[in-house]
Amino acid sequence: MTAARKKPTSKQTLANLPFAYRQYDAAALREALRKMYLIRRFEEGAEDSYTRGLIHGTMHLSIGQEASAMGICMPLETADQITSTHRGHGHSIAKGADVKRMFAEFFGKTTGYCKGRGGSMHIADVAGGNLGANGIVGGGIPIAVGAALTAKKMKTGNVVISFFGDGANNEGAFHEALNMASVWKLPVIFVCENNGYGMSTSTERSTAVKNIADRAAAYSMPGVIVDGNNFSQVAEASHEAVERARAGDGPTLIESKTYRYRGHSKSDRNRYRTKEEIEDWMTNRDPIILFESEMKEFGIIDDAGIEAIREDVKREIAEGIEFAKTSPAPDVADVARYVYTEEQA
C-alpha cells in the first residue's frame, strides 16, 4: 500500500497540503479512493444479495466508515496484520482481500476465504495479513496483542492493528489487552472506530468517559482522536502510530470518530437514533465525497477519473458476485474437516 512521497500535484505548495497529499503519490491516493468505493459497493452488493436470499444469516455493514478502514491500512505492508470485528468487510478489503473470495464466503462456497465455514462474521485473509473478523465483541483485541508478541519475539518488524468499536471498549478484554501491550511495549495499534453506538446503546449511556482515547492514559500510551471520515487525518494518525510501533516504542490507541449509515445488523429498527442524525452524516460528512472533493481540489483526480474508478469497481463487484454464484458449495461429507489439523480417527 505504501508509496514514496512525491512532488505536489497541484498549484499549492507541498507544505500546505494535508498529510496524505504530502505522504502519498497520486496513484496511491487514487487507489485508496478506489478501495473506498470497492468497500461501499461490496457492502451494497452483499446487502442486495442478502435481500435476494443469496446470502443467509446476518451481516453488519460499515457503509459510512470507509475512510477509517482505508486510512488505517494505508501505511501497512502485506506482512503487517490486523484483527477485525463483526463489522469487518471494510477492514478486509482495505487490507487487500479479493472481493471474489469474500462474496464466495458470504455465499457459503468452498472458494470463500473460509471455505464457507465462517461467513461474514469470520471473514479473514490470513495470507494477506487479516487474522479474521470476530463474532465476539472485544475478542480480537488480545489476539492482536498476541500477534504483536510474535512479531517482537521473532523480530519480524511487523506491526499489528486491532480494530474494534466503541462498545468493545467496555469489555474487560480491552483493559487487559491494552495493559499488557503497554507493559511489554508491543508493536500493536488499537483502533477504536467510534460510530457513536454499540448496537442501540450510545457511548453516553455505556461509557463513563467522554472520549475513548482518554482511556489511553490508563495504559500510559498515546491516545489520538481523529475525524474518522477524513481519510488524511486517519492515515496520518495511523502513519505515526505505525512508525512508533516499528521503532519499538510500543502501542498507540487511536479513536476514529465515524458513523454507520445502516442499522446495526439485519434486525435493527433504528429506534435509538433519529433520521435527522443519519441524514446529517450521509449528506454532510460522507467519507468518500469528502475525499473525492479534496482530491479534485488538489488536482489529483478529475470527474473522468472518478467515473473510471466507479465503472471499474462496478465491474469488479459484478464479477465477484458472479464468481460466488458459480462457485461450488461444500460437500456435506466434508463437514468434519478443519476441526483439527490432522483429522482425527
Partner: protein, 332 residues
C-alpha cells in the same frame, strides 16, 4: 378459559412472564445488552422498557462478566435480577461469576445468603450465525452444583418455568432455543408456574422412549407421527430441566418400553444424552433394556456457517426416525 385457548409465541410468553413478575414484585428487574429501546436482539423484552422504564429494564454496557457480577451482587442483597445474555455464547465471558460466585455463594457462606438470580441464554444453531453465535452450552452449567438449569420447549412452559425461576431462591439458568422464539402455542393468562425439575411425557408410546430437550422435543414428536404409520409407537419425554434431572420419569418410561434414545442439539460427547444413558445404565431399569441406548446429539464440530453444513451437524427428524426404526427392528 374458552374453547380455543389464547396463543402466544415463545418470545411473547417469556415477555409476559417478566411483565407479570415485575408488576407483582418491585425487586424484579431486567439487565442486559440492548434489551431497552432495541427490545432485545430477539425482541424478547420488546416494549417492556416503555412500560417499566429504563431503571427496571436496564441496558448494560457490553460487559458480560461485570454485568453478571452486578446481577449476583444485586441478588445477594435483596433484588431479583433477570439477566439476559444476548447470545448464550457470550456467557463464556461470565462463567467466573456464574460458576464461582452465583452457584457457590450460599454454600461458601454456610447458608447465610441466597442468590435469587435468573439468567436467560438464547442458544442454538439454525440462524446462519456461525460458530460463535450458535452454541448449546447447557451441559456445562448442568455440571455445576448450586445452579438450576432449565430448557423449556413450548411457550406454555417458557412462561410457567420462567415464573417458577423468578420465584426460586437460587440461581436458575434458562436456555432458550432461538428457533423457538417465533413458535406459537397456547399460553394461559395470568400467573402460573411449571415446576423446575419435572420432566413431562409429551406422547405416550409402547416401543421406544425418546428423551428430548428444547427444540428436539418437537422433532421427536414429528418423528413419532411418521413412525406411527409404520406401527412403531414412540414415547416422547420432554426433559425440561437439566439440573436437577428428573431421573424417575425416564426410568419409569424405559421400564415400560425397554428401549431408549436421547436427542439434543448440543455436542454429543459429554452432552445431556450421556447423563441420560448413564442414569439408565446405573438404574434398576437396566435389566429392562432390550437394546443398546442410542444417543443423538450435535456433531463433534463447531457450527458451520454454510446452511447445508449447519443442518448436517444437528440431529434432524429423519435421524430420529432411522434411529428408532433400527432400534425396534433390532438393527443394533
Amino acid at each position: 378459559m374458552d374453547a380455543t385457548p389464547r396463543e402466544l409465541s415463545y418470545a411473547q410468553a417469556i415477555q409476559e412472564a417478566m411483565a407479570i413478575a415485575m408488576e407483582a414484585d418491585e425487586r424484579v428487574f431486567l439487565m442486559g445488552e440492548d434489551i431497552g429501546v432495541y427490545g432485545g436482539a430477539f425482541q424478547v423484552t420488546g416494549d417492556l422498557v416503555e412500560r417499566f422504564g429504563p431503571d427496571r429494564v436496564m441496558d448494560t454496557p457490553i460487559s458480560e462478566l461485570g454485568g453478571a457480577g452486578v446481577a449476583v451482587g444485586a441478588a445477594m442483597t435483596g433484588m431479583r435480577p433477570i439477566f439476559e445474555f444476548q447470545f448464550s455464547d457470550f456467557a463464556t465471558l461470565a462463567m467466573e461469576q456464574i460458576v464461582n460466585q452465583a452457584a457457590k455463594m450460599r454454600f461458601m457462606l454456610g447458608g447465610e445468603v441466597s442468590v435469587p438470580l435468573v439468567m436467560r441464554f438464547p442458544a442454538g444453531s439454525g440462524t446462519g450465525a456461525a460458530a460463535q453465535h450458535s452454541q448449546s452450552l447447557e451441559a456445562w452449567l448442568g455440571h455445576v452444583p448450586g445452579l438450576k438449569v432449565i430448557q423449556p420447549a413450548t411457550p406454555h412452559d417458557a412462561k410457567g418455568m420462567l415464573l417458577a425461576a423468578i420465584a426460586d431462591p437460587d440461581p436458575v439458568m434458562i436456555f432458550e432455543h432461538k428457533l423457538l422464539y417465533k413458535m406459537k402455542g397456547p399460553v394461559p393468562e395470568g400467573h402460573y408456574t411449571v415446576p423446575i425439575g419435572k420432566a413431562e411425557v409429551r406422547r405416550e408410546g409402547r416401543d421406544v422412549t425418546v428423551v428430548a430437550t428444547s427444540i428436539m422435543v418437537h422433532k421427536a414428536l414429528e418423528a413419532a407421527e411418521l413412525l406411527a404409520g409404520e406401527g412403531i409407537d414412540l414415547e416422547v419425554i420432554d426433559l425440561k430441566t437439566i439440573r436437577p434431572l428428573d431421573r424417575q420419569t425416564i426410568i419409569d418410561s424405559v421400564k415400560k418400553t425397554s428401549r431408549l434414545i436421547s436427542v439434543h442439539e448440543s455436542v454429543k460427547t459429554l452432552g445431556i444424552g450421556a447423563e441420560i444413558s448413564a442414569t439408565i445404565a446405573e438404574s434398576d431399569a437396566f435389566d429392562f433394556l432390550d437394546a443398546p441406548i442410542v444417543r443423538l446429539g450435535g456433531a463433534e464440530t463447531p457450527i458451520p456457517y454454510n446452511p447445508e453444513l449447519e443442518k448436517a451437524v444437528v440431529p434432524q427428524v429423519p435421524d430420529i426416525v432411522t434411529a428408532a426404526r433400527d432400534l425396534v427392528k433390532g438393527r443394533r
